[in-house]
């Protein structure tokens, strides 16, 4: 077992434990913190695939910005007291079954997709996730969608300011 495999299994274990704990922990602040652990593990996977830019942007945007806002909201809404929401058994069973079926579908898609069959992930090689390649692709091949999405972001920002403004 080389260091890459070792790290892969370690990160996978961390990601899965974190994801389960997000759902299992009763305190919402703990859930948010576990979610941050999941993001770290996923970023680790990106690094293994040599997609360093994706890894760090995942950390900056999700763990660093969005989760901070989540924490803000949870702290200010004072969800400190544990509220036990009781759902009936039927709801739980329905949730488990539908979630499980979705999971099965995703596994079968991944296993049978023509792009995936008999391929292995390229660890530590390839430059597809490096900032230089990504920038070139974004500004040549995908320049129109890129600019449109930036307009979308701008309108979202204006919208946020309008909503946040009193009267």
């Amino acid at each position: 077992m080389g260091i890459l495999q070792f790290l892969f299994w370690l990160l996978s274990a961390v990601a899965l434990t974190g994801a389960i704990m997000v759902l299992a922990s009763k305190n919402p602040v703990h859930s948010v913190l576990w979610l941050i652990v999941v993001f770290f593990a996923i970023s680790g996977h990106y690094v293994l695939l040599n997609a360093q830019f994706l890894a760090v942007v995942n950390l900056i945007v999700y763990a660093g910005a969005i989760m901070v806002l989540f924490l803000f909201v949870i702290m200010l809404m004072n969800l400190n007291t544990v509220i036990e929401t009781r759902k009936n058994l039927w709801m739980k069973a329905a949730g488990i079954i539908s979630g499980g079926i979705l999971f099965l579908i995703m596994i079968s898609v991944v296993r049978s997709s023509a792009d995936m069959v008999s391929r292995t992930a390229q660890l530590k090689e390839g430059s597809i996730g490096l900032i230089e390649t990504l920038g070139k692709v974004l500004f040549t091949q995908y320049v129109v969608p890129f600019e449109i999405s930036s307009v979308l972001f701008l309108s979202a920002m204006v919208g946020a300011v309008v909503i946040g403004k009193k009267d």
Partner: protein, 349 residues
């Protein structure tokens, strides 16, 4: 036995390097507390700490001992796990940034070349931003878990301050990145060392100024230490902390200060470059050590400037702080970015 077929030599080399760098950061931070008190005393025409050892040189040790032996108080109504996690996170994120800083060029021992940098990653500066944006959690979690409204308010203040100033910092760096064309700190340093090329501060004076102000704010240093404004918030986010957990919070501020000084020196002041000397003409090992020394001197000068500002300027009001960040620094950084882009497009293309 290829169950764990790691490159053990590399792993051990890096571990030793990490241990050394963390020790150095801790020692520098420790003596920065001493330095701060001496600088403050000097500016206020006092003597400063002078009891423990000659010139009070053992004062930081005495302070550390005192903090360790203080009673550990965890408030009953606090969230115990998060209460302990807060200072740990603050310390951890303060340390993590040191991984990508090039502390010197290369050492040659026998035929093994040891790079004085833990990881030369492709996305160096973005990594710094990632870690800085993590730095909010230490304050926020610590402040919230104390279950004290002053701590919570201070934590929210601190977090929103860090988020606001991160933007201006990032934009001011984009202008620098246009010049260097690389995110790796090692490449940026080597470009500044190349003959015929000057330190980046000459090309980006405004960018440096914005970066410096933002670094002050990111470290929660005066005049931006709104999250520990004792006249409004008692003691700020570490109100309920005692013993070494309080020490961790205070200490992480000094580590942050040291690391951000080193980053500023690396980005704008040539890193381990010794001014007016062509390093390639001399013995590489000797020059590597002298380069580390040069970087340290630059960092110490920055730390002194940090202290100088703290003991000169009064604290901002909160609305002034936000106005400065959003209405002054971000537009300035944007203008700087556009001008740099235009100049590069027109004259260097």
């Amino acid at each position: 036995m290829n169950l764990l077929a790691f490159d053990w030599a590399l792993l051990i080399e890096k571990l030793v390097l990490i241990a050394i760098i963390i020790t150095i950061s801790l020692v520098v931070a420790m003596y920065a507390t001493y330095g701060e008190r001496k600088v403050a005393a000097w500016m206020q025409d006092r003597v400063g700490p002078n009891r423990a050892g000659p010139f009070g040189i053992l004062q930081p040790l005495a302070d550390g001992m005192k903090l360790f032996f203080k009673e550990e108080i965890i408030p009953n109504s606090s969230n115990k796990f998060l209460f302990i996690l807060g200072p740990c996170l603050a310390m951890l994120t303060a340390m993590m940034t040191s991984a990508i800083i090039p502390w010197g060029s290369e050492l040659r021992i026998g035929d093994r070349v040891i790079s004085l940098q833990i990881a030369d990653i492709n996305i160096g500066i973005l990594y710094v931003f990632g870690v800085v944006s993590m730095g909010v959690y230490g304050i926020m979690i610590g402040g919230w878990a104390s279950n004290n409204k002053f701590s919570l308010m201070a934590a929210l203040r601190g977090a929103s301050q860090v988020i606001s100033y991160e933007l201006a910092m990032g934009i001011s760096l984009i202008a620098l990145l246009m010049l260097t064309g690389s995110l790796s700190l090692k490449t940026i340093t080597e470009q500044q060392m190349a003959p015929g090329h000057y330190w980046n501060v000459l090309y980006q004076p405004l960018g440096f100024l914005i970066f410096f102000v933002c670094a002050l704010a990111e470290c929660n240093r005066a005049p931006f230490d709104l999250s520990e404004a004792e006249s409004e918030l008692n003691m700020g986010y570490h109100q309920e902390y005692s013993s070494m957990k309080l020490g961790f919070f205070l200490f992480s501020e000094y580590i942050n200060m040291f690391i951000s000084s080193v980053i500023m020196a690396t980005l704008f002041f040539g890193g381990y470059d010794i001014p007016f000397i062509d390093e390639s003409k001399y013995n590489p090992n000797l020059m590597a050590w002298l380069g580390v020394g040069a970087l340290m001197v630059k960092a110490l000068i920055f730390i002194f400037v940090f202290m100088w500002i703290r003991w000169t300027l009064p604290r901002f009001r909160y609305d002034q702080l936000m106005n400065l960040g959003w209405k002054a620094l971000i537009p300035l950084a944007l203008i700087n970015m556009v001008i740099t882009a235009v100049v590069i497009l027109k004259y260097f293309n």
